[in-house]
Symmetry: C2
Subunit: 434 residues, 2 copies
């Protein structure tokens, strides 16, 4: 078969990696795909010093690639929502298949993009948009197709996991590690997307859609970052046998679907609790298969390129298929998506870690216990520390059984109203992930 012609839009980190992998492994890839995958044109504003494009034609206008009649597949690696969206929609309108690594674009505009792609009978593949080189989208969409997915939980932001790992292993503060991550190039100058959980929420939105067969609903994801996480809580969690990870959690319940990103206590002996540094991992629990886990590099030039190129091979194979009998973009047939609602965070259920700063008076514990018990909240474990010298306060740390979040909100308000409780109660969700 003749080679498939690819146009790369954007020659940054992932674009450069994609070009390099396609070139270096051209033979290996053709041995698998049964045909070559050739880069016919690259659109980029500036050269990438890590990528020697040689005789491959380049241009500065991405729409030149999109309109190039020679090109079968457009690879969108520009990032962002604006030009990237135009590029993808124009490529589709031109009858070209698309491969993208753009989680923000898919999470926010995916429903529109997939609708247009269906009308045109083309594929938009996006494995690289979640967890870099880990083929987790393929695993959920195809590998677990037999299952009702019950829940999934992922460490899907490497920067956040690097920061949490350093805080735990070296007792460093959030601010201190963030500065280092920025110096190392792991974190952007504006780290909001990473540390406030927005990037993770984009990825979680995509995973939840393909797991549960629901439209993409990024605006309904609950997002809480790690920027306010205190080293004290990292240490108390450790003492209780837990690790704190910044997790994206999606769970199917009878009432609706939970879709939430937040710091989470996980029992220290769980495999996912031992995923450290910039690495990513996603657990997926299905009714037939039980719990599975997928681990690897969640970012980086070549790991992400690995996913982009795998999509290119998939698309090259699908060129000769019936458009109505392909793997659907969101794993489920578009006319079979569910309208099961996304639950507001108050209706979500988990266990909770609470840290209360109390005055060193007798009877505080009894007051705390009463407030929780009146709201039907059971205590799993409790730990009262010694009086802290600098403020004379006693930290009371407890972990509850599973309960609906509204009740914890109510209990926290009551706790904070106590005369003997000082400041805000720290609340971190707890998941067992069996």
């Amino acid at each position: 078969m003749k080679p498939v012609k690819v146009g790369i839009c954007g020659l940054g980190n992932v674009g450069g990696g994609t070009f390099n992998v396609l070139k270096r492994n051209a033979e290996e890839i053709a041995r698998r795909a049964g045909r070559g995958i050739e880069v016919a044109q690259i659109a980029t504003r500036r050269p990438n010093p890590k990528c020697h494009t040689g005789s491959t034609p380049t241009c500065s206008d991405v729409f030149e690639v999109v309109d190039n009649p020679e090109i079968d597949i457009v690879v969108e690696l520009i990032g962002g929502y604006t030009v990237a969206r135009e590029v993808v929609l124009k490529a589709i309108a031109n009858g070209k298949h698309v491969v993208t690594a753009n989680k923000a674009l898919i999470a926010v505009h995916g429903n529109e993009i997939f609708a247009r792609a269906r009308e045109q009978g083309v594929i938009v593949a996006f494995e690289a948009s979640v967890a870099g080189g880990i083929p987790v989208i393929k695993a959920i969409r195809e590998g677990l197709a037999a299952n009702q997915i019950n829940w999934l939980a992922g460490i899907i932001n490497g920067t956040g996991n690097f920061i949490l790992t350093e805080m735990r292993e070296k007792g460093r503060t959030f601010e201190d590690v963030l500065k280092e991550a920025q110096a190392l190039g792991y974190a952007e100058a504006d780290p909001t997307f990473d540390v406030e959980g927005i990037d993770a929420a984009h990825k979680l939105t995509i995973l939840a859609s393909i797991a549960f067969g629901i439209p993409l609903q990024f605006d309904k994801a609950y997002t809480e970052g790690i920027s306010r996480l205190a080293t004290a809580d990292v240490n108390y969690a450790e003492a209780l046998g837990y690790r704190i990870k910044h997790l994206g959690v999606a769970r199917r319940t009878a009432a609706g679907i939970e879709l939430r990103v937040h710091p989470t206590l996980i029992p220290a002996d769980r495999l996912i609790a031992n995923v450290n540094g910039v690495m990513n991992a996603v657990m997926v629990n299905g009714d037939a298969v039980g719990s599975t886990l997928y681990y690897g590099a969640g970012a980086g030039m070549e790991p992400t390129a690995s996913a982009v190129v795998a999509d290119l091979v998939d698309v090259a194979r699908a060129l000769t298929t019936d458009p109505n009998n392909r793997v659907p973009h969101l794993a489920f047939q578009p006319d079979a998506l569910s309208d099961h609602p996304i639950l507001p965070i108050g209706a979500c259920e988990s266990a909770y870690y609470l840290r209360i700063q109390a005055k060193d008076h007798p009877g505080v514990l009894a007051q705390v216990a009463t407030i929780l018990s009146e709201r039907g909240i059971n205590i799993e474990s409790i730990m009262q520390k010694e009086v802290e010298e600098h403020d004379g306060l006693v930290p009371v740390i407890l972990v509850t059984h599973r309960v609906v979040e509204q009740r914890i909100d109510d209990a926290i308000a009551a706790l904070e109203a106590l005369d003997d409780v000082v400041g805000s109660v720290v609340r971190i969700r707890v998941e067992q992930l069996n």
Copy 2:
């Protein structure tokens, strides 16, 4: 589209699970596949009490299913090499697609089976043959298609991992745990396939083929079991910061491909070293993606059925594709398989853990060090224990740097010839798995 008709041959554990999952999740599966997947006929000698087949036609002759003109896909869940092979070859000859969970059949007769399948333009899918419900074949074959795979290493026998976990956590002996595993139904009455590594070698043979693009060569796999593993070595490994796992390891080197199953020391902080009980995990290292890991239940009624049904969905989608543009059976195009040789174990390279039982004489350590040094074997760490009361011997434990196995064989022969060394030297391979 009209439903796909499936015939199940064999209604044991996996057959019953497959029927149950197809029935329970019929709607979810059809929402994904775009069409129903219906069991049209089941061949079984006896009913499965865990599986209520209701109005589904059953028969006792598997060839009735294979010859049933209504049936599109034959699911072979009989096991073994004889009838299973005939069933699969007859189904192919009849132009039917095949899904199988039979690792022995694929590892030993796969080259023949795939050749026949190609001639007939049909698919033989075998995700369930390795690591139960973990979609690791799909991950390697499609998800990592961009990569030159450097190596893979897997805990791919749950029975063996259960035994090793109990030995380490509870200080029990191999024989003691094996008896319990047999009572629990994890191990067969004849445990040879599991504990001597034959089952793992079947699975490793399959993984290596799809990773490196080589024909299936089960007869060239090196296989060493766990039945002679002493609790003492489990404990010494722990003291050195390692865990012992029964690994299947496949590695590509310039000289050839290593294909070996044996007990292995792994640094205790590696994720795969923390995979316990009956669970399976496979690490795969590619030149672009780096190291990835896939974890889940490696056996069991429904986890294995999860993989069988995922294959059914894949085949249902591929029914309308060009047979020459499908994912190849062994990941690489049949005319592009490599003749890179499988290395004999003597030519394989790893680090080694050695335990030497020495008489309590001065100068023994110097003799040991000389023997290793003369053969260019560097010592990574060494630990001399106190004299053991029951025999007056001193255990000397050491870990070497990486070296070709022949040199270690030679060194062990020289060590065992020393007057001050008593009995055999214990040798266990060590892998870093970065």
